[in-house]
């Protein structure tokens, strides 16, 4: 059997076309974000409630001794700020995953996936777009926190940026990996219960690990192996112009692993192929 091919007047894609695609996806995500003002407000209110109410209440209960990267005694508010920044990104990553499920139901994901550009690249662009949105949210939070006397060194606002990019990608990729396994919108509640809460509470976001170790050695090890702990520590150190190399390595490896997993899961010949058609279509 022989087959012959006809193609248009070009084949393959140029670098400029890849960039055009990336710009387009980020631009759309930003536009959608602008149109969903409630999402922005709730993304900000959540950590602020923790900061203004929870942290204020616990300020007297929990004393934080001098631990790196801090050089003096700090207030509890100051301690949990990096954890709350990570929380913003965690929620954003999971919400992007929710929007993937939503998109898939509504068909927008389908328009993305029929693009002739390589699928791994399309998913990567989607991750970059989600991360860009999370950066906006985190910096808005930092601005408000500054008025609450959470004032890292000015250079910290810059040095934290690469850490936030990496952690945003990691949490977005995790969300994407989870979304490939979710069929319906309602399952976001399950994601809250089984992913967001355990990750957040079993980490160093709210309490230093040495305190956890005093209470429960087992929980200490759970926290230590929780990638979210390393996201928090990476952000915490970089916010003070330092680098926590172990956390950087863990976050980097997790980002790579989750991304590969997500790309694998969205490969039509593997992940999605095992499932039925979406939205009751046959």
């Amino acid at each position: 059997m022989s087959s012959t091919t006809v193609s248009g007047n070009q084949s393959g894609f140029s670098f400029a076309q890849y960039i055009t695609c990336l710009n387009g996806i980020v631009w759309r995500e930003a536009l959608r974000f602008v149109h969903q003002r409630e999402r922005f407000v709730s993304a900000l209110v959540r950590p602020l409630v923790w900061l203004f109410i929870f942290a204020a209440g616990f300020r007297q209960v929990l004393g934080i001794s001098i631990i790196p990267p801090y050089e003096t005694y700090i207030l509890y508010d100051v301690y949990i700020a990096p954890g709350l920044m990570a929380m913003i990104q965690l929620f954003n990553g999971m919400q992007s995953s929710l929007s993937m499920v939503y998109d898939r139901e509504m068909g927008n994901m389908r328009t993305l996936l029929v693009s002739p550009l390589p699928r791994w690249y399309l998913l990567f662009c989607k991750l970059v777009a989600g991360t860009a949105v999370s950066l906006l949210q985190v910096y808005a939070f930092l601005l408000i926190a500054w008025f609450w006397d959470i004032a890292p060194p000015p250079i910290g606002y810059l040095t934290v940026l690469p850490a936030l990019v990496l952690s945003g990608l990691m949490l977005g990729a995790l969300g994407m990996l989870i979304s490939s396994g979710i069929k319906q919108l309602e399952n976001f509640a399950g994601v809250m219960n089984f992913v967001i809460f355990p990750m957040f509470f079993a980490s160093s976001a709210l309490y230093p690990l040495w305190r956890v170790q005093e209470g429960s050695p087992l929980l200490y090890y759970v926290c230590l192996f929780n990638p979210f702990t390393h996201v928090v520590e990476l952000i915490r150190f970089s916010l003070y112009g330092q680098t926590n190399w172990i956390s950087l390595a863990v976050v980097f490896c997790c980002t790579a692993a989750f991304m590969i997993g997500a790309i694998y899961a969205y490969d039509p010949s593997r992940g999605l192929a095992r499932r039925g058609p979406a939205g009751g279509e046959t």
Binding site: G8, R28, E105, S269
Partner: protein
């Protein structure tokens, strides 16, 4: 299997005007495609072809396997058995070339409702690597053609159902594909909007030489001279020019031909009696 590639990147682009299509390569070829969701069989050994510059109707009831077939062609699902080619490009091999020649209008709405008409088009153009300046020109051009130029800045949410469908078709044509797939494109539209959409698509076949696969369950959308594929319970029951299929089934019209074909398939005993 030998594959002869006609395209030559960087040199004189080959003239792929459909009417002078070398060797009669089909716009879409489906060869022995089967698909199952677990134990449930959705498609069984489906084979047919869509010629360039032709209107091929894919007729089947709900659940016949039309959307599964579309999901396979658009690479939403992996192909379990068989082969799908778009202008000779196997879609399971690096799909760029195949998808580049393909435009799709899905059954469910896939526009961003909160974005404007132009923004939706520009986003689609970006997904195909079309630079912004060119994308703007193209979107102005397609909007004029579908008579939505005055709504370019409107939010998609404010359009009527028929306008949204026209916009989706325009979007699917933005990257100038040679094959257009439409999955139940007229579902939920009123009679006039349905006729407009169908007329518009038939015009594309004639004027631009685009190969069209039109999935439907409505008999009145098929007319004499079309190619027809009758899909029932995941199998192709008939495939060829409409008039031949009607004649072969010794029926008066497509409606009764379909009833005869599917009746025979459901209960082979009754066809012999």
């Amino acid at each position: 299997m030998t594959a002869i590639s006609v395209h030559n990147a960087g040199r004189e682009p080959p003239d792929v005007s459909p009417r002078e299509n070398p060797a009669g390569i089909p716009a879409l070829s489906i060869e022995g495609v089967s698909h199952a969701y677990g134990a449930r069989r959705a498609l069984a050994d489906v084979s047919f072809a869509v010629a360039p510059a032709s209107f091929t109707a894919l007729l089947g009831l709900n659940g016949a396997g039309k959307s599964t077939l579309f999901a396979l062609i658009t690479r939403l699902f992996g192909i379990q058995a068989g082969r799908i080619g778009i202008f000779g490009h196997d879609i399971s091999r690096p799909p760029g070339e195949a998808l580049r020649l393909l435009g799709v209008v899905f059954q469910s709405r896939t526009l961003d409702l909160d974005l404007s008409v132009t923004q939706n088009l520009l986003y689609h153009a970006a997904l195909h690597g079309i630079a912004k300046r060119d994308a703007r020109l193209r979107s102005d051009e397609v909007l004029k053609r579908i008579e939505l130029a005055d709504r370019a800045a409107s939010k998609v949410r404010d359009l009527s159902g028929g306008q949204m469908r026209r916009l989706e078709i325009a979007r699917a044509l933005l990257h100038r594909p040679r094959l257009l797939l439409l999955d139940e494109a007229t579902v939920g539209l009123d009679v006039k909007a349905r006729a407009d959409i169908l007329g518009h698509v038939r015009q594309l076949v004639v004027e631009q030489g685009i190969g069209v696969l039109w999935a439907t369950h409505l008999f009145d959308e098929i007319k004499s001279g079309d190619d027809l594929v009758v899909l029932h319970q995941g199998r192709v029951l008939a495939n060829g020019p409409v008039d031949n299929i009607i004649a072969d089934a010794s029926a008066r019209d497509i409606n009764s031909a379909f009833m005869r074909l599917t009746g025979a398939a459901i209960d082979p005993g009754s066809a012999n009696s």
